[in-house]
C-alpha cells in the first residue's frame, strides 16, 4: 500500500482527487440514504462479502494468468460467461446432477479452453506488441460472447438457481445468509489461498514465476515454458468458470452482464497492482462491498439513475492512477520489411479519389450489389452506408493514435458519443455547419483529459483506463438528461445544409449525406497520409518503437502523446456529430462500451498503421449485413457482428501487421513501376524458404532442439548475422585475449 502511494505523482494525485470529488458530488446531489439500522448493515455485509468473493475469484485468476504469462486476458469474463451457460445447459437443460455438471465444466471444459488457447494463440503472442496482444484477447472476448449468443439464443429466458436453493441458510439477527452466499465467501478464500500456495510452494508454481522473470534461464534449469503457460491458462479459465457460475444466479443469464464482470475483475486486480494475489482478493472484496453499500443505502436521483453500475469503472479508473509509473520502456525488434516507402502525395490523392468514386457510384446504384435496381440504391442500404462511413471516420481517428503512437484506446467510440450529444447542443439542432468545428474543439481536449492520468503508465494501463472511461460514460455521462435527454421532445438535429445540398437521416437526404460523408472520409484519408509524412508521425512512431531511445534524443514523450490524443479525440468528435445527425435521435443507451470494441478490432485486422485500412474496415462492416442478406438470415450467423470482428482479430496472432500490409506488399508488385515491391516480395519468399524458425522460437531453440550446424546457419540468417561476423563468439574471444594482454 505504501508502494501504491509512492506511485502517485502530483498530476495523478490531482486527477484522483478530481474523480473522488466528482463521486462525492454525485452522491451528495442525489442520494437519499437509508437508515444505518442493524438489519441494513448486516444485509450490506452479507451481500457485499459474497459479491466480493465472486469478484475476488475472478480477479485472482486474471492476476495468475497475467503474472505468469505476461498477457492480460480481456476474454476472462467472456470465458466465464460461456462456462456459466455450459453449466446451465448441463444442469438445467439436460438434468445432469449438479456435482457432475460442476466437475464437467470446471475441471474439463474450462481447463480445456485454457490449454487450447495457450497452444494455439498465447504462445505466439508472447513476443507480440501490446497492440496485437490486446487485439487478440479482445477478439477472443467478442468471439466467446458471440458464440454464447449463437448457441444459447437470448430470446428464451433462462435462470440458474442458487446453490442449495430452498434451504434455509444461516440466520444472523434479522438477516439470512443463504448457503450460496456462504459457500461463495468460503470458496473465494479457499481459491485465493490455494492459488497462493500453488505459486509459492509447489514446483509448478515456482517454475511459473521463474518463467516470467526470465524465460531462457528458467528453461536452462529444466522448466518447460510451454507446459507452464498451459497450466497457467487452464487455472485462469477455471477461476473464470467458477466466478461465472456463482455470479449468474445474481445477474441473470445475460451475456452482456456476465461478460462485464471483467471491468470489475480489472478494478479488483488493479487494486492489487495487477500482480498481487492478496491485493486482488482484497480488491474484489472492496468492489463487492462498495456495490452492496450503494445498493443498500444509497438511492440515486433520476439524473444519475445508473450511477451504481459505474462503480467498478470508477474504482478501476482510480486504481489505475495508483499503478506504478512505467520506467521508460525499451523497444522490441520488429523487422517487417526491408525498405521504408511512404505513400506519395499523388498516390494518396489517387487513393482518396478512388474511395470517393467507389462510394459515390455505389450510392447512386451504379454498382450492382444486393438486388438494387440499376441507378437506385435502397433507402435501407443508403442508411447503412452512411452509418458505416461514420464508423469508418471513428476508425480513422484511431490510426495516428494506435497505429503510429502505439496507444491503445477503447474510448474513441465514447468520445464520438459525447461529440454526438454536444453537437445537438451547440448548433446541430439548427443545422449549423460550423457547429461541427466547435464539436472538434470540444472533443480534442476530452481525448487528452481521458489519457492524461495514464500517459506515463504502461500501455496496458492506458487501455484499461480508457475502457473504464467508456463504461463510465455509458452508465453516467450519457444517462444524464443535460447531456442526452431520453425524454425530450422536439428534434435534436436539423438537416445540415451545405452548397445547396441537404443532408440528414431523412430518406430524401440520404444519398447526399452518404456522398458528403465520403468526401469527409476521403479528405481525412488524404490528410492522414500527408500527416504520416510529417515530423509528427515520425516522432510518434519513434516514441512507440522505443520510448527510452526517444527520450534520450530529447523528445518530450508526454507532450507528443498529448498532441496525438487531441487529434484523435477531435476526429472522433467530428465522427460522433455526424453519427448523431445520421441517427436523428439519441437514446441513453446509444453508446455502450462493447459497441466500440469491434471498430478497434476491425481496423487493427486491416492494419492499424495504414489509413487505407480504414476504408477496408468499412467494407468489412458492410459485409456483415450483406452476409446475413445473402444467407437469408441463417441462424448460426445471428451474432456475426461480434464473432466476425472477434475471429478476425484472433488471426492477428498469425498476421500481426494487418491485411492491408500483406496485401499491399504482395499485390503492389503487379504494378509495373513498383520494382521495390517485387524486390521486397522476393526477399520475403527467400526468408520463408530459409526455414521455419520464428523469432519468438529462438529463445526455446537451445532448450527443446539440438543445435545442428544447419540450425545455427539458419539462425544466423533469421537474425541477420553475416557469415564473416560471428557475433555470438566474438566478444568472448576478444575479451580473453585482451585480458591476457592486460595481464602482461
Amino acid at each position: 500500500m505504501k508502494q501504491a502511494f509512492a506511485n502517485l505523482s502530483k498530476g495523478r494525485a490531482i486527477a484522483a482527487a478530481g474523480v473522488a470529488l466528482a463521486v462525492v458530488y454525485v452522491v451528495t446531489q442525489n442520494r437519499s440514504i437509508a437508515p444505518f439500522s442493524a438489519t441494513n448493515i448486516a444485509t450490506f455485509i452479507v451481500v457485499g462479502l459474497s459479491l466480493g468473493g465472486i469478484y475476488a475469484i475472478s480477479a485472482c485468476g486474471l492476476v495468475v494468468t497475467y503474472t505468469t504469462t505476461g498477457i492480460f486476458n480481456f476474454a476472462h469474463g467472456a470465458i466465464g460467461c460461456f462456462c456459466a451457460f455450459a453449466y446451465w445447459e448441463l444442469k438445467v437443460n439436460r438434468d445432469v446432477p449438479t456435482p457432475i455438471a460442476l466437475v464437467l465444466v470446471i475441471f474439463v471444459i474450462a481447463p480445456l479452453i485454457g490449454v487450447i488457447l495457450d497452444k494455439l494463440l498465447m504462445q505466439r503472442l508472447r513476443q507480440a506488441s501490446l497492440v496485437v496482444q490486446l487485439m487478440v484477447t479482445v477478439g477472443l472476448m467478442l468471439s466467446f460472447m458471440g458464440i454464447t449468443l449463437t448457441i444459447w439464443k437470448p430470446d428464451t429466458g433462462r435462470a440458474l438457481p442458487h446453490f442449495f436453493e430452498g434451504t434455509k441458510g444461516v440466520r444472523i439477527g434479522d438477516v439470512t445468509a443463504t448457503w450460496h452466499r456462504i459457500i461463495t465467501v468460503v470458496l473465494a478464500l479457499a481459491i485465493a489461498l490455494l492459488l497462493r500456495f500453488i505459486l509459492r510452494a509447489t514446483r509448478t508454481g515456482i517454475a511459473m514465476r521463474a518463467v516470467v522473470d526470465n524465460r531462457a534461464l528458467a528453461g536452462l534449469n529444466g522448466v518447460k515454458p510451454g507446459v507452464i503457460s498451459g497450466a497457467s491458462w487452464a487455472l485462469g479459465c477455471m477461476t473464470a468458470a467458477i466466478a461465472g457460475i456463482l455470479i449468474a444466479p445474481e445477474t441473470g443469464m445475460v451475456v452482456d452482464n456476465l461478460t462485464l464482470i471483467i471491468v470489475i475483475a480489472f478494478a479488483a486486480a488493479a487494486i492489487g497492482q495487477l500482480k498481487s494475489l492478496p491485493g486482488a482478493f482484497i480488491g474484489g472484496l472492496i468492489v463487492g462491498l462498495a456495490k452492496a453499500f450503494s445498493a443498500q443505502f444509497v438511492t440515486f436521483g433520476a439524473n444519475f439513475a445508473y450511477a451504481q453500475e459505474a462503480i467498478p469503472a470508477v474504482i478501476l479508473f482510480i486504481a489505475v492512477l495508483f499503478l506504478p509509473e512505467a520506467r521508460l520502456a525499451t523497444g522490441t525488434l520488429r523487422a517487417t520489411r526491408r525498405y521504408e516507402r511512404l505513400t506519395s502525395p499523388k498516390e494518396a490523392l489517387l487513393g482518396a479519389f478512388v474511395i470517393f468514386a467507389l462510394v459515390t457510384a455505389w450510392a447512386n446504384g451504379w454498382i450492382m450489389w444486393f438486388g438494387t435496381n440499376f441507378g437506385e440504391r435502397s433507402d435501407v442500404w443508403l442508411g447503412r452506408g452512411a452509418g458505416f462511413m461514420i464508423l469508418g471516420l471513428i476508425m480513422l481517428s484511431l490510426i495516428p493514435l494506435t497505429g503510429w503512437a502505439g496507444q491503445v484506446s477503447f474510448a474513441n467510440f465514447a468520445i464520438a458519443g459525447f461529440g454526438a450529444a454536444m453537437y445537438s447542443h451547440v448548433g446541430g439542432h439548427k443545422g449549423e455547419p460550423w457547429a461541427l468545428l466547435l464539436v472538434i474543439l470540444i472533443c480534442a481536449p476530452l481525448g487528452v483529459a481521458i489519457a492524461i492520468p495514464a500517459l506515463r503508465l504502461k500501455g496496458l494501463y492506458l487501455a484499461l483506463a480508457t475502457m473504464a472511461f467508456a463504461e463510465f460514460a455509458d452508465k453516467v455521462l450519457f444517462r444524464h438528461p443535460d447531456i442526452i435527454n431520453g425524454n425530450a421532445t422536439g428534434t435534436l438535429y436539423e438537416p445540415l445544409r451545405l452548397f445547396g445540398f441537404q443532408m440528414s437521416s431523412d430518406p430524401d437526404d440520404r444519398k447526399a449525406f452518404v456522398i458528403f460523408l465520403t468526401i469527409v472520409f476521403s479528405i481525412l484519408f488524404f490528410g492522414l497520409e500527408m500527416l504520416r509524412r510529417t515530423r509528427w508521425a515520425r516522432r510518434w512512431i519513434a516514441t512507440a518503437d522505443s520510448p527510452a531511445a526517444a527520450a534520450t534524443i530529447g523528445v518530450n514523450l508526454t507532450s507528443s502523446k498529448i498532441i496525438v490524443f487531441a487529434i484523435s479525440g477531435g476526429m472522433a468528435g467530428l465522427a460522433g456529430a455526424l453519427y448523431g445527425l445520421n441517427r436523428g435521435a439519441l437514446s441513453v443507451d446509444s453508446f455502450p462500451m462493447f459497441a466500440g470494441l469491434p471498430l478497434v478490432l476491425l481496423l487493427a485486422v486491416q492494419g492499424v498503421r495504414y489509413p487505407g485500412a480504414g476504408f477496408m474496415a468499412v467494407l468489412g462492416l458492410a459485409s456483415f449485413p450483406a452476409l446475413l442478406e445473402v444467407t437469408n438470415h441463417w441462424a448460426p450467423l445471428s451474432s456475426i457482428e461480434l464473432i466476425g470482428p472477434g475471429l478476425a482479430a484472433i488471426t492477428m496472432a498469425f498476421r500481426p501487421e494487418g491485411a492491408v500490409f500483406y496485401a499491399g506488399r504482395d499485390l503492389a508488385g503487379i504494378l509495373p513501376w513498383r520494382k521495390d515491391a517485387r524486390a521486397e516480395k522476393a526477399a520475403v519468399d527467400q526468408k520463408r524458404r530459409d526455414g521455419d524458425i520464428r523469432l519468438d522460437e529462438i529463445n526455446d531453440l537451445g532448450l527443446s532442439r539440438d543445435f545442428t550446424p544447419d540450425k545455427v546457419a539458419q539462425l544466423d540468417r533469421v537474425l541477420n548475422i553475416a557469415d564473416d561476423v560471428p557475433v555470438h563468439t566474438q566478444p568472448l574471444r576478444e575479451e580473453t585475449s585482451h585480458a591476457v594482454a592486460v595481464g602482461n
Binding site: T330, A335, R538, I541, T552, I553, V555
Partner: protein, 248 residues
C-alpha cells in the same frame, strides 16, 4: 571542472546494490573509458547519468548544472547523447528517418538555424551509412544498426556522448573506422564516455579509464596505469597464477 561528473552514485534493484558510490568524470575533447567485467554496473551507470534509471542517491552534474532530478529528455536537451548496448533503434523507421527524428527533435531547444534534412544527410555520410538510408533499421545487421544509433545521437548535437559497446557486432575494419570517427568527434571538442569490451579498442582510443567492479570504481588512470594495476588484473583474471595454469 569536468563537463560531466557522476558523484557517489548508488542504484539499488530491490536488495541488490548495482552501484555503490560509483563515480565517473568526463572532459571535453577526451575519450573516457569505462570498463569492467560483465555485471559490474556499467550500463546501470549510463542509465543513472541519462535518467533512465534515476539513482537512489548521489549526484549527476553536467556543464555546472545539477541534473540528478531532471527527466531523461531534459538531460538530452542539455547535451547528453547516448547509444545502447542492446539496440534501441526505431525499428519501424528507415535508417535516415531514425536520424531525422533526432535532428527534428533538436529544433525544440536548439534555436540556431539549421535544416534537419541537411544535418541528417551530413551525419549519415560522416558515419558512413549513407548507402543504407532507406533501409528499415530492424532488418540491418547489428553492427550497422549501431552506427545508425550513433548517427541518431550525433544529430542532437550533444556535448557529451555515452557509447555503450559501440564496437560489438562490428568487424575489424568497421571497428577501425569507428575509432577514427571517435577521434574526429573528440577533436571537435566532444566528450565521449565509452563502455567497451574490446580492450585493444579501449587502450588505443581512451585518454583516461575508470574500472568498475561489483558497482564500485576500483581504479582510475591512463591506459598504461590501468594495465599495470593489480586490482584490475585480479578483477579481470581472478588470481594471476590460475590464468597461467589455463594458458599452459
Amino acid at each position: 571542472m569536468p563537463l560531466l561528473s557522476a558523484i557517489d552514485i548508488v542504484v539499488r534493484f530491490g536488495g541488490l546494490r548495482a552501484l555503490s558510490d560509483a563515480y565517473v568524470n568526463c572532459e571535453p575533447g577526451q575519450v573516457t573509458g569505462l570498463i569492467g567485467p560483465n555485471g559490474a554496473g556499467k550500463t546501470t551507470l549510463f542509465n543513472a547519468i541519462t535518467g533512465l534509471r534515476p539513482p537512489n542517491s548521489g549526484k549527476v552534474v553536467f556543464d555546472g548544472v545539477d541534473i540528478t532530478n531532471k527527466t531523461p529528455y531534459r538531460r538530452a536537451r542539455l547535451g547528453i547523447g547516448r547509444t545502447f548496448q542492446k539496440l534501441e533503434a526505431f525499428t519501424s523507421l528507415s535508417a535516415r528517418n531514425n536520424v531525422l527524428v533526432a535532428a527534428e527533435a533538436r529544433q525544440a531547444w536548439d534555436k540556431s538555424k539549421f535544416k534537419p534534412q541537411e544535418v541528417t544527410d551530413q551525419i549519415m555520410e560522416a558515419v558512413g551509412i549513407g548507402h543504407i538510408a532507406d533501409q528499415m533499421v530492424g532488418t540491418l545487421p547489428t553492427g550497422t544498426a549501431r552506427l545508425v544509433e550513433l548517427a541518431r545521437s550525433l544529430a542532437t548535437n550533444p556535448k557529451a556522448l555515452l557509447l555503450d559497446e559501440p564496437s560489438s557486432g562490428l568487424n575489424a575494419q568497421e571497428t577501425e573506422a569507428m575509432a577514427g570517427l571517435l577521434r574526429r568527434l573528440v577533436g571537435d571538442g566532444l566528450a565521449v564516455l565509452l563502455v567497451e569490451h574490446d580492450m585493444a579498442f579501449v587502450m588505443s582510443t581512451c585518454e583516461f579509464i575508470h574500472v568498475l567492479e561489483f558497482g564500485q570504481v576500483i581504479a582510475t588512470g591512463t591506459p598504461s596505469e590501468i594495465q599495470r594495476d593489480k586490482a584490475v588484473q585480479a578483477a579481470y583474471l581472478g588470481a594471476v597464477p590460475e590464468v597461467e595454469g589455463v594458458l599452459s
